[in-house]
Subunit: 246 residues, 2 copies
Amino acid sequence: MRFISERRLDDGVREREFTLDEIPGILWTPPTASGPTPLILQGHPGDLRRMYPRLAARARHAAAAGYASATLELPGAGDRPRSAAADQARVDLRRAIQAGEPVADEIVERLVLPLVDQAVPEWRVALDALLALPEIDGPVGYAGGVIAIGVRLAVVEPRISAAALFAGSYVPRVMFEEARQVTIPLLVLLQWDDEGNDRQLALDLFDAFGSREKTLHANMGGHTGIPAHEGDDGNRFFARHLRAAG
Amino acid sequence: MRFISERRLDDGVREREFTLDEIPGILWTPPTASGPTPLILQGHPGDLRRMYPRLAARARHAAAAGYASATLELPGAGDRPRSAAADQARVDLRRAIQAGEPVADEIVERLVLPLVDQAVPEWRVALDALLALPEIDGPVGYAGGVIAIGVRLAVVEPRISAAALFAGSYVPRVMFEEARQVTIPLLVLLQWDDEGNDRQLALDLFDAFGSREKTLHANMGGHTGIPAHEGDDGNRFFARHLRAAG
């Protein structure tokens, strides 16, 4: 992990860009640590530059509650080499949605499974490097999308203690078996009228999760319309599960 | 409204039993008022004596955030005259649930519609009396079940500014048209594995509500298993909508 830039945001949050095996990432740490600093991995759909405003807002909100946040560019997104197969799957997905057709699971599998297979090991390597920093103590939560990445991480990565997952992207039905293996506490966010998502699929996925403690928060509005109070709810969710685990 | 008893609970909350046209009710007010005191009508499925522990816990939690709470016995419940027709409908409902059969809408209509028709005017009369008390300022919220009573109240009673509805009881499909007329902010609680409720009906009802601001919180566990953090979420929901409206 190599830090390539550092700045203080106006609220005192320290923001550092890094690369890890040539993958870009960003780390945000709270201005002052009072007690242990848990880490939240901030998930997103890819392209850090486009996602920066939303990711930084989430990280600053989390920092105000004492959490460090980190994120990593996804395979095939931003400045990373594109995948022709994934781009084709994305085109097929958009075409189906725009035509008002049901999205074939085969398309979702082509889009999501290779992404999950490649991204999850990268996030785990990043986790090794992040937890080796003296200013981060853990425990670790995962927040946001891509929900399929969150599902896989929750199953394979024992250092993740809780996840606030944004059900705003497709999950192939073959991954429901993995969802049943998830046992950590979950907060699942669903935008009820998300134009690019399948509400019933999200409800079925919520039902499938094996966790004893799982909560679904559904709100009105489209994909980007998550109300501000959900940021506070997310912090309180992590306070219940990361602070207790720490 | 005639007060018939008064006591202080150990946290300083003032609890008064009253009767209103021979209908029993309970009023809880915070120990000290710092600013205006909004009112939350605490809904329940009937039988105040049986429901007292849960209602008092909710009222005390609300009082800690500065809210007064009041509740009223439902028609046909507790010491009020029973309705043979409602009792028969309740038997038919339980029989269908225990047999694992779909609950016919006709049964739900027989059980719920007369209850709503009778209870809602009673709660409105109680609201007149409660808002005439100097220690209660408003605005007014409705919390809990019976959800069909909450729906009707939200439509016909303009003094109710927000509602935290517990989707833990059946709503006849004929009331979905009323649900579409609801425009106040809603927080809908759903117990995902509620043994005596229909999850899909609850999701369809949430979808039907006309409110621009509506949030669904679904949690694991049965009918009585609502997690404690939902009490805090309810207070924050009312803080956003009642304090702002006041």
